[in-house]
Chain length 290, copies 2
Amino acid sequence: MKKYMDEKLQIFEPYMLGYVNELQAPNELKEAMAYSLKAGGKRIRPMLLFAALETYGQKAEKGLDAACALEMIHTYSLIHDDLPAMDNDDLRRGKPTNHKLFGEATAILAGDALLTYAFEIIARSDVYSPEQAVQLIRMLSVAAGPAGMVGGQAADMEGEKKTLSLAELEYIHHHKTGRLLAFSVMAGALIGGADKAETALLETYARHIGLAFQIRDDILDVEGTEEEIGKPVGSDESNEKSTYPVLLTMDGAKQKLSEELQGAHDAIALLKRPAPLLEAFADVIAKRTS
Amino acid sequence: MKKYMDEKLQIFEPYMLGYVNELQAPNELKEAMAYSLKAGGKRIRPMLLFAALETYGQKAEKGLDAACALEMIHTYSLIHDDLPAMDNDDLRRGKPTNHKLFGEATAILAGDALLTYAFEIIARSDVYSPEQAVQLIRMLSVAAGPAGMVGGQAADMEGEKKTLSLAELEYIHHHKTGRLLAFSVMAGALIGGADKAETALLETYARHIGLAFQIRDDILDVEGTEEEIGKPVGSDESNEKSTYPVLLTMDGAKQKLSEELQGAHDAIALLKRPAPLLEAFADVIAKRTS
């Protein structure tokens, strides 16, 4: 698994940065875009996209442009979330956040630029048919927009400092992080030519790993080390955030995590073809330590 | 001309707001999106799109979805430009800016939401073929992104408080406002089925009216009334902004405005068919008082 991911990263990273380098745009803006793209972590979303694609017998290369778009949108959302008016974070993955280094105005613009450029990259890709490109853009914009990620972030801000119900918490996570994770898998399925029944199973899989991802995040905020997670441990508690451990107790959160992981494996087991990469990814997400 | 615009507005306004109303998203976010969309002015960009479309014998209705996307992107750019970290404006068109009413966090998210939703609206439209939709999204993302509007805004921020050369000033305006105005015309031409030679002429036209628009803006900032322009007169001067009147004197700016207007008319005169709407629009833009 580690070997698979390292191999893909070696292709993906320079490919994605190449898109920023080739831009005719003010240097400071390009630097700010590249800085946050480079500060990226394990590229879970692109890896999921490649894994879904390979499940349907297609080469990962066919997913590169969609994966770049996806990672740019994920990165823009982190830049904007970190802003003083939002979460006001100085550090992300142990490095200064974009606005700390480039100033707020440039950070806002770098986010806007990455979001917009993401759609250009899919629209001008010569790998997808027009039908595929339109469908990818439609899925990505729904996942990232007001009915998806942006809506989840807005609900998250509204929900801060009050105790959420489990249903409200799931709404937030499903939208804020789940929809974009789900896009990773659905985009791979679309480019790979999966049929409707398979796609529905993959959507179920994606929904489970999306929740598993978030529950694991909440657990790590309590049990991880600052070195592992790249931010102070216990920041959710000091922000009085509603989290799975708070709502369900730590044991309850771990129980739910294991149910979500099982749900993901159950969906994969129903696919017509073996999907060892997707199975391995579910485990990576549910058991990660950073 | 006024009648034409009023007629189109009566169709366009409810159609665009309908897209926000139908969203499954947090209420506050939808309200913030709708607020700035409603605060819109004369809808010059959608009108240009309709005019270009009708020049090629197509109904304006075919342009509605592209025009909504365009106006949402224009509106998002105003919301983000007004933020404290950017231009820090409290008023726009005489009304409180988005962040003054909804707070900075919601204003940032409302902008992100409008930008993302714009691409969804084109991608899910049933009026365009997949080829047209991909081409529209490509043109719009280039016009609005780091090599277009966002890049122009970044250059504008860098250029503040220093005296710009005329070439630098034109770079900023061509990118910050010109590219999106040009998209209006090019999108109409694309949907209307204009050929390459016609499209090139329309691009020249669009470039001229884009500059005319900006020169007129600079002139109004000196000679307009606060009531007309919806913001304090002389704000460019008090911000020490480089403007056409500053660089060229007021007479020189007016001379250049009239040259740009002439350039626009010259391009239209070379089209294979009469384009009275586009001619009238050039005059509206160059002679507007607000």
